[in-house]
Each structure stands twice: as structure tokens, then as C-alpha cells.
Amino acid sequence: MKNLKLKSARAAMDLSQQLLAELVGVSRQTINAIEKGDYNPTIKLCTAICKALNKTLDDLFWE
């Protein structure tokens, strides 16, 4: 299932996938896979993404 919340939060901060990937220390393809719902990140990566986007886990990863 696509993670549209993450995509919109990233877009709201005017960040590209590449920039977000560099902020959290992963590859661009990993961010792309999370947004497309092809990969379930670990809690460690989830929190890193949340911190980078100033959001909570509930905001981005809770349905």
C-alpha cells in the first residue's frame, strides 16, 4: 500500500527523495520504495524519517 502521507509530508517541506534520503542516510531508491509501499522500514528508519520531516510516527506511518 502506498505511503501517501510520507510523500505529501516530504513535498510540503519541498524536499526531493534524494534530499530526504541524504538526511536519513539511505539511498533514494529506499525512500521511493517506502513511498510506493514496496518496503516496510524498520522502526529506526521510521523515526529518522519522522525527525527529518518534523512529524510523529502516527502522522506518517499509522493508518
Partner: protein, 180 residues
């Protein structure tokens, strides 16, 4: 000692020497640069899966070779069977990693095209050696209905070409994805 066993022993010894040299180069490089090759969690997962598929292929291929040897269905010398198993196994691992974005590490900041071109050049050299042997009159792909020793040059050449081509194709796909 049987000739084929001598070849296997030579191949194994060469493999061990190659692994030792490669390990030494990696250790020296790591100490110099003080940074290890870095992959993220998804890439590590993909690489583990790729190793599993590659290993599975190697096991299945070995079993098939074992049965063909038991039933004396000669299709290639044992040396070529062993080499082919390694070449295809490595190719499976690399191609899966490339297409799942787990081949290039996060801290690899050199031009990927240079890497792809050098891999293709390596493949061309192997193919050249193979063609040169054919031209020189050395038995080519098949000898008396079985694969010849020289066929390994062809397969390693094809493996390097596949890796180089995969890198270029993947880069083109990524560029398209980035544009979208």
C-alpha cells in the same frame, strides 16, 4: 593424477590466491580510507536475498552436474562445470543486486558509467581471448559434443558484459524515475 583433477586443484588454488589478494586489497583500502562500504537496511536485505538465490542456484546446479556425471552424460569437463557454476552464481547475485538498487554502496561517489565501461571492457577482453583461440585453431565451444575448456572464456566474458549492460540499463531506468 587425472588431468581434470589437476585442473580442479589448480583452479581451487588460484581461487584461494585470488580471494587472499582481494581480501588484502580490501583491508588495505579500508585502513587507508577509514570508511567501510555502506549499505542501508533495505539494500542489506536485498543482498542477503540475492546471496540466497545465488547459493540455491549453485546447489541445484551442483546436484544436476553430480547426476550427469554419475550417469555419464558428458556435456562438459568437471573443471568447466565448476567454473560455469561459479560464473552463473556470481552473475545472479550481481544482477539481482543491480536491479534492486543494492549493488552500489551509499558512499560510492564515482561515476557509475566508468565502472560499467570497465566491466564491459573486461568482458570484451575475455571474448577476444576466446575468439583468438578459435582463430588459432584451438577447439572452440564444443569438443566432441561437450563444452571445451576454452568455453569458460566465453561465459566469463558474457558475465562481465551482462553486469556492465545491467548497470547501464539500471542507470537509464533510474534517470527516468528521477525525472518523473
Amino acid at each position: 593424477m587425472d588431468m581434470s583433477w589437476a585442473k580442479i586443484l589448480a583452479f581451487l588454488l588460484l581461487t584461494v590466491v585470488a580471494v587472499i589478494i582481494a581480501a588484502a586489497v580490501i583491508i588495505i583500502k579500508k585502513r587507508r580510507s577509514k570508511e567501510a562500504v555502506k549499505f542501508d537496511e533495505r539494500q542489506m536485505l536485498v543482498r542477503h536475498k540475492a546471496v540466497r538465490y545465488s547459493f540455491l542456484f549453485t546447489i541445484v546446479f551442483s546436484i544436476i552436474c553430480m547426476f550427469t556425471n554419475i550417469f555419464e552424460l558428458k556435456w562438459a569437463p568437471v573443471f568447466v562445470q565448476f567454473g560455469l557454476n561459479v560464473v552463473i552464481g556470481v552473475a545472479i547475485f550481481i544482477v539481482i543486486c543491480i536491479f534492486k538498487d543494492a549493488y552500489i554502496s551509499l558512499n560510492y561517489n564515482k561515476n557509475i558509467y566508468n565502472y560499467a565501461i570497465s566491466t564491459i571492457a573486461l568482458g570484451v577482453i575475455h571474448l577476444f581471448v576466446y575468439v583468438h583461440h578459435i582463430v588459432s585453431g584451438v577447439p572452440n565451444l564444443f569438443t566432441r559434443g561437450t563444452l571445451s575448456d576454452d568455453s569458460l572464456y566465453l561465459f566469463t566474458g558474457l558475465m562481465f558484459l551482462t553486469v556492465g549492460a545491467s548497470l547501464i540499463i539500471k542507470k537509464a531506468i533510474d534517470k527516468k524515475g528521477e525525472a518523473e
